[in-house]
């Protein structure tokens, strides 16, 4: 995961979710701020594709660790919920 500015991240979320997560892009910024406060991402100045000044964010090593941890936790939860929602037939006889 490389560096990106807010607008790229917002569009990446929207497109990556096949347009299911259609949120107002503005709500991303407080989230970015919170991540930054926790030291999981750091901002730096950069220029956009069209050479506009923009605030870029990069994952910190701590942020990368958090991402891995949260990702596996999320996968656990998803697996658990999937199991609950589609119970195995032999247990539900």
């Amino acid at each position: 995961m490389g560096a990106a500015h807010g607008q790229t991240i917002a569009h990446a979320i929207e497109r990556g979710s096949e347009d299911v997560l259609q949120v107002e892009h503005g709500s991303l910024y407080p989230a970015l701020h919170r991540l930054q406060n926790r030291g999981w991402i750091v901002p730096f100045r950069g220029a956009s594709e069209n050479n506009r000044k923009a605030k870029y964010y990069r994952l910190t090593p701590e942020g990368r660790k958090q991402l891995a941890a949260r990702k596996s936790r999320w996968e656990q939860v998803v697996r658990a919920i999937t199991r609950i929602m589609s119970p195995a037939p032999e247990e539900n006889k």
Binding site: H5, Q7, E24, H25, G26, Y29, P30, H33, A54
Partner: protein, 361 residues
């Protein structure tokens, strides 16, 4: 410590820039897809949502975390204080004593040394005096005589105003009960040199000093309140002092003091140069002209002293070896106490530091 709290405004401005940049970049993309510039900008703004709400949310985040973290940091300390009351009591007492002592000494230092005398531009007020040799010792306060004042006030180049003063007891006997009062005797120049106007009425004037003019008196605020109940009609009235009538011409303001004395009345000191020149009963003070230093005043006095000696003393005062010794009037009031107090304040401050260090451990 979380310093984000202090940079909230700056962070907010930056947040606004970031959101602005989102709109620009997104609008550019929309334009590339064939949208009109204005429409693209509107669409980008819509996509972003409510700008103010976003900024508010970030702003509150910075505020709330500050309070929360401070509380978090304090919590262990509070728990410690509760678990160990003996230590807490000692710590609180040590700090209380340290702070109390420092505050007490500081209020004295402030009152005595830092606050100027209750006269306008009080640094310009000086005591004019001479040092003189008695036996083998040089004393610093040889008194003033009316003749000396006459020479100095006529010939000086450094004084704006100059006058003599002395304190004496006087008997007030025109009222219901006779009483003894402290009178400050001043020449015409003394009150102007201090720069203190009467709260009501007027200063002594040259006309008051003319032979045959009615005797005058000024009351201090405290005496006026005490004996006349603050009655403004007292101006112009005649009271009897040492069996002779005097007309009240003014009331001094409540803030008026001179050399920490408790003064009831102010009397004019009439100068009669025909009297023998041995009336050494006065002290002199002067207001320096703008920009004149005490050293310059002393040089001026050194120039005038021979004039006085030649006219009034001949060689009779040679043994005294008079030398100019003018000094800020403040020194008369504060004296050497100033230095002592500073040292005391320094000492007490170190005590407070030690107390802090002990408690911090």
């Amino acid at each position: 410590m979380n310093w984000r709290f202090l940079h909230r405004a700056q962070a907010d401005a930056e947040q606004q820039r970031e959101l602005e940049s989102y709109i620009e970049i997104t609008a550019e993309e929309y334009v590339a897809q064939g949208m009109g510039a204005d429409e693209a900008r509107r669409a980008a703004r819509r996509k972003l949502g409510n700008l103010t709400r976003i900024r508010e949310e970030v702003y509150e985040m910075n505020t709330a975390t500050f309070a929360e973290r401070t509380l978090q940091q304090l919590r262990p300390s509070i728990r410690m204080l509760r678990l160990n009351p003996a230590f807490s009591l000692t710590a609180v007492l040590t700090l209380a004593l340290g702070i109390g002592a420092t505050t007490a000494i500081f209020s004295v230092v402030n009152g005595v040394v830092i606050k100027p005398l209750p006269y306008p531009d009080s640094d310009a007020v000086v005591t004019v005096t001479h040092s003189a040799v008695f036996g083998n010792v040089r004393g610093r306060d040889f008194p003033f005589s009316p003749q000396m004042l006459a020479v100095y006030s006529a010939n000086n180049q450094t004084f704006q105003e100059m006058g003599l003063w002395t304190l004496r007891q006087a008997a007030v006997n025109g009222l219901a009960v006779p009483e003894s009062a402290v009178a400050l005797q001043v020449t015409q120049g003394t009150l102007p040199a201090l720069g203190v106007q009467p709260a009501m009425g007027r200063w002594f004037s040259r006309a008051d000093d003319q032979p045959g003019a009615p005797e005058t008196i000024i009351l201090t605020n405290a005496y006026w309140e005490r004996r006349f109940g603050g009655d403004p009609g007292v101006i112009g009235r005649v009271i009897t002092l040492d069996s002779s009538p005097r007309q009240v011409i003014g009331i001094m303001p409540a803030t008026f003091t001179l050399a920490s004395a408790t003064i009831d009345l102010l009397l004019p000191l009439r100068i009669n140069l025909a009297q023998p020149p041995s009336d050494w009963n006065y002290r002199a003070l002067a207001r320096l002209k703008k920009g004149v230093t005490v050293a310059q005043a002393n040089a001026d006095v050194a120039r005038m002293l021979p004039v006085y000696l030649e006219r009034y003393a001949g060689h009779r005062m040679d043994a005294l070896h008079l030398q100019p010794a003018a000094r800020p009037f403040k020194e008369d009031v504060v004296g050497n106490v100033g230095q002592v107090l500073w040292v005391l304040l320094g000492g007490i401050s170190i005590l407070l530091l030690i107390a802090c260090a002990n408690v911090a451990k």
